[in-house]
């Protein structure tokens, strides 16, 4: 029988609704962290997470709480990623819990992500404990928000704790609810080991550390464990739990507990989230349900701005992959950009985070190509190809049918922006499904959208057209046939492979023109006129010209100061090295990047 004094739970909240602050307060109240060690928002370790106020990777921490009934409880707080890109990771984190605290902002109400994750929690039979946060704000309207929770999610919420995580108001009430409302874990400690991997990361001393929820049985140091999906077998070196700032090697874990296992695992590829850990010598009958391999959805070419940094880029990607098995990459060559990698990401945010980490943590200057989704192309021969790189798009004459991935999107917005959003979605080839009023002022819009229409800048545009109020979430629907074409960009008559992309034929002209205009803005005038053309097949559909430069001369030499002039030319030469030489055309890095943000 599992320990009845354990409570395993997570926190669900929209960005900025106060998840990390509440987590901090809980840590503080349970004295897991001495106050002097408190750093704001403790659970979010990565710089990027802290800056963006989002959680990228799940974390878990074990807390001790003495409840009002006088008993000591063990809380395992499992922090979940908040973003749709990490949906699967979220679902695995939820599977490790018995309950979820749903944090809702007292003035803003429920947002799209919250809704998606709450439904996910309910699907996993979690007890959802609503909490209304930020009651200290002047615009707070806790009653309205409670009604909204009841109407939209269908759980009782009128007696939800009304708190201010920032001010530390009513945090005890939340802690008591965790004890009273969230069920204790079940599971037989005597059965063969069955544990769920919900996160892992690479530690350079201990190898891969896996975070597990023990569902049944027990595990201890020296046991031989098997990871059921991959079949890999390891000997446990450490088993224990996570303090706020360190691992505590307890020597064992048992059913109901959340903790970590270190077993000298070299490759994070062996420890896939969702996999089941069992005892190799006394295995369980079957693995836990729900395991699936996560597949990248969005692809982009990543190239070092300086070709000599190719090796550094590879090393950096390898290091990132140690901690992020969902990142995929393989070498790719571009005529325009040289050697780089085609990288696969779970979604847009994931892509941005990886790019940002490469630039920030590894100090790399990158050129990235326009994000692409995976297109499914059936050739006239009957062969089916999956295309994630526009360069590989087959000759139209060979295509029997081309298909693109669709998503089902939820957009939550104040009702005044409905018109703007509908216009945007229509422009992005969206198909309106239905619209649901959450209350008098807020609306949930359901659309089906092509994924390739949202991988560029959909979220940015949505935010700007709704003054930041709309929230957005999506899930994959599958493939539908579509009139797709490959659009090529030519500079001085030569195709620049890195700028090619696949697009719906109806959108081709508009985008072609915008790209040509952007390139014209970003390619400096050079000695020779540079024609910019956009073409489908052999047909040119847009054209701009970068006129030849007219003036680049040092009229005067300062009283015979020849050295200054020479240095100027040497500097000019040096500057050109940072540009890509495509035939006779010199293209600055910014030109490649400018075509990624066409609407801004």
């Amino acid at each position: 029988m599992a320990n009845q004094k354990i409570r395993n739970f997570c926190i669900i909240a929209h960005i900025d609704h106060g998840k990390s602050t509440l987590a901090d307060r809980i840590l503080e109240k349970t004295e897991t962290v001495a106050i002097r060690d408190m750093e704001d928002q403790l659970l979010d370790n990565m710089d990027i997470e802290r800056e963006r106020g989002i959680t990228i990777k799940a974390r878990a921490v074990r807390l001790k709480y003495t409840a009002q009934d006088g008993e000591d409880y063990i809380f395992n707080l499992i922090d979940t990623p908040g973003h749709v890109d990490f949906n699967y990771e979220v679902s695995r984190s939820l599977a490790a819990c018995e309950g979820a605290i749903l944090v809702v902002d007292a003035s803003q109400g429920i947002e799209a992500q919250t809704l998606a994750n709450t439904y996910l929690a309910i699907e996993h039979d979690l007890e959802v404990v609503p909490v209304v946060n930020k009651i200290d704000l002047p615009s707070a309207d806790p009653e309205r928000v409670c009604t909204e929770v009841e109407n939209v999610i269908g759980i009782p919420a009128m007696d939800a704790p009304k708190i201010s995580a920032k001010m530390g108001t009513n945090i005890e009430e939340v802690l008591e609810r965790i004890v009273t409302d969230i069920p204790a874990p079940q599971g037989d400690t005597e059965k063969p080991l069955k544990a769920l991997i919900f996160d892992s990361y690479y530690d350079s001393y201990k190898g891969v550390i896996i975070y597990v929820r023990i569902k049944e049985g027990r595990v201890k140091t020296g046991d031989n464990i098997r990871l059921m999906a991959t079949g890999a077998v390891f000997t446990v070196v450490e088993a224990g739990f996570m303090d706020a700032d360190k691992l505590v090697n307890n020597g064992s874990l048992e059913a109901g507990e959340v903790g970590y296992i270190a077993a000298s695992i070299k490759s994070i590829g062996d420890t896939q989230v969702g996999d089941t850990v069992t005892n190799n010598d006394n295995p369980c009958d079957e693995a836990l349900a729900g395991y699936r391999k996560v597949n990248p959805m969005v692809f982009s070419g990543i190239y070092p701005a300086d070709g000599a940094k190719y090796g550094d880029l590879r090393d950096a990607l390898e290091k990132l992959q140690l901690n992020d098995a969902s990142l995929s990459f393989e070498p790719e060559t571009s005529i325009a950009l040289g050697f780089g990698f085609r990288c696969g990401f779970l979604g847009l945010l994931h892509m941005e985070i990886i790019q940002e980490r490469l630039e920030r943590e590894y100090n790399l200057d990158l050129i990235t190509t326009a994000p692409s989704v995976i297109y499914k192309v059936t050739l006239t021969s009957g062969e089916v190809q999956y295309i994630d790189n526009p360069s590989n798009f087959p000759d139209p004459a060979l295509i029997q049918v081309a298909e693109e991935p669709m998503v089902k999107a939820d957009i939550l917005t104040p009702s005044e922006f409905v018109g703007n959003i509908m216009e945007l979605c229509q422009d992005r080839r969206g198909v309106f499904k239905d619209m649901q009023y959450l209350d008098d002022t807020r609306v949930n819009l359901h659309y089906e959208l092509p994924l390739n229409e949202i991988v560029y800048d959909f979220f940015d545009v949505l935010k700007s057209r709704t003054r930041g109020y709309a929230s957005f979430d999506y899930e994959m629907l599958g493939y539908v046939p579509s009139k797709l074409v490959k659009l090529d960009i030519l500079l001085n008559g030569d195709i620049v492979d890195a700028l090619s992309f696949i697009i719906h034929t109806d959108k081709a002209y508009g985008r072609a023109r915008k790209i040509a205009e952007k390139l014209k803005e970003n390619i400096p005038r050079q000695l020779f006129e540079v024609p910019i053309q956009a073409a489908i097949g052999g047909k040119v559909i847009a054209r701009e010209t970068v006129k030849a430069m007219r003036k680049d001369v040092l009229a005067k030499c300062y009283g015979g100061d020849i050295t200054r002039k020479k240095k100027l030319l040497e500097k000019q030469k040096e500057g050109k090295k940072r540009m890509r030489q495509l035939g006779t055309v010199e293209v600055p890095q910014e030109a490649f990047m400018s075509v990624l943000k066409l609407d801004s």
Binding site: K551, D552, L554, G559, G560
Partner: protein, 364 residues
């Protein structure tokens, strides 16, 4: 035998022009006297009679703020310490407001035989924009006075690409100038040098764009050519035989010694410069130099400078670079940037306009 040029920098101005980044301080009579003493002292130190000195150039600043006696003192000292050739070109830069007929006569007597007048424009509103204190008429008088005083080699500076300057107003300036008794014109495209008052958006926003500037420049080249002033360098035009011999030293990698605060030298296989500190120059027994290039006149530098001249670069002199350059030129010929004739490369006026890029592409 090697020849030598001497450059004397006179870093004093009555008033500093807002576009200028040459080194100058405000004019003070006693400081100027101290400065001249320091110049004389340095000329003794640099004394070199192994070469023929055939050019002397007083640049500034405003060298015409020196008295003819001070100029004479310096030239005497040069005569004593160097082998100054009888037909040496001795230039002095003059601001129209600082010279009258008598002074010009005395300068001529002191040995100056070439005058470079900072005329800039014959349109008063343009002169005002540049912060020049003289009028067009005053400049015209300075030139005719110089002619009357015996100067047979007069140059004047013209500035192009000024705000609201049109081909018409440029033609007006050039027409008036070329009707004066002058033999040489330096026509500079105005550049907003960093650190000068002109280095601001307020000014930059009203300057003509590159296309207009190019039109003005080509108009200048054509008009001056028609008037008998052949272009011999990016910014320089002369009647036949009146090309500035001193300035050509710069473009031909020939030796010159620079004396004075901020002066530059190319001498005995090194380029060096003097700090822009007036007091330092006056107080030190010998000017303090900084080597800016221990190995000047490499092929890159030589070609860079030669290609500023209309006569251009002879590839036969550099067989090891010949093939590399020949490979690059067809596209430049096609675009009308260079002339190529029997292993000889030179830039066209259109090529001069983009000479930084052309030279960088060809040579660096």
């Amino acid at each position: 035998m090697n020849s030598l040029g001497i450059y004397i920098h006179i870093p004093f101005c009555g008033r500093k022009c807002a576009y200028c980044d040459f080194y100058s301080e405000s004019f003070r009579k006693d400081t100027v006297s101290e400065y001249v003493v320091a110049v004389v002292r340095n000329l003794r130190v640099y004394s070199d009679k192994s070469k023929i000195t055939d050019t002397v150039y007083f640049g500034g600043g405003t060298p015409s703020l020196l008295s003819p006696e001070q100029v004479g003192m310096i030239l005497d000292e040069i005569n004593r310490n160097f082998r100054l050739s009888a037909d040496a070109e001795i230039t002095l830069e003059a601001n129209p407001n600082t010279v009258d007929f008598r002074k010009l006569e005395n300068l001529r007597k002191a040995g100056v035989n070439r005058l470079s007048v900072g005329l800039q424009s014959m349109v008063d509103s343009e002169l005002k924009f540049l912060g020049r204190t003289h009028s067009a008429d005053r400049a015209e008088k300075a030139i005719t006075d110089a002619y009357g005083a015996g100067f047979e080699n007069i140059s004047c500076d013209v500035m192009i690409a000024l705000p609201e300057q049109s081909p018409d107003s440029l033609r007006y300036t050039l027409d008036r100038i070329t009707s004066l008794p002058i033999q040489h014109i330096s026509g500079y495209i105005l550049k907003t040098e960093s650190g000068t008052p002109f280095d601001c958006d307020k000014i930059k926003n009203i300057l003509p764009d590159d296309d207009t500037t190019a039109e003005l420049y080509l108009e200048m080249v054509k008009l001056l050519g028609d008037r008998g002033f052949a272009q011999y360098e990016v910014s320089n035009f002369a009647r036949r035989g009146f090309e500035s011999r001193h300035n050509c030293r710069y473009w031909k990698c020939l030796d010159y010694i620079g004396i004075g605060a901020s002066a530059h030298s190319c001498y005995n296989g090194r380029r060096f410069s003097v700090d822009r500190v007036l007091r330092d120059f006056i107080n030190r027994p010998v000017q303090k130099i900084t080597i800016t290039d221990p190995n000047p006149c490499t092929f890159e530098e030589y070609a860079m400078l030669r290609l500023r001249l209309a006569e251009g670069l002879d590839l036969d002199d550099f067989p090891e670079y010949r093939d590399g350059i020949l490979k690059k030129i067809p596209v430049l010929i096609k675009s009308g940037y260079i002339n190529y004739n029997g292993n000889h490369i030179s830039l066209t006026p259109e090529g001069f306009l983009v000479s930084n890029s052309v030279i960088e592409y060809l040579v660096f």
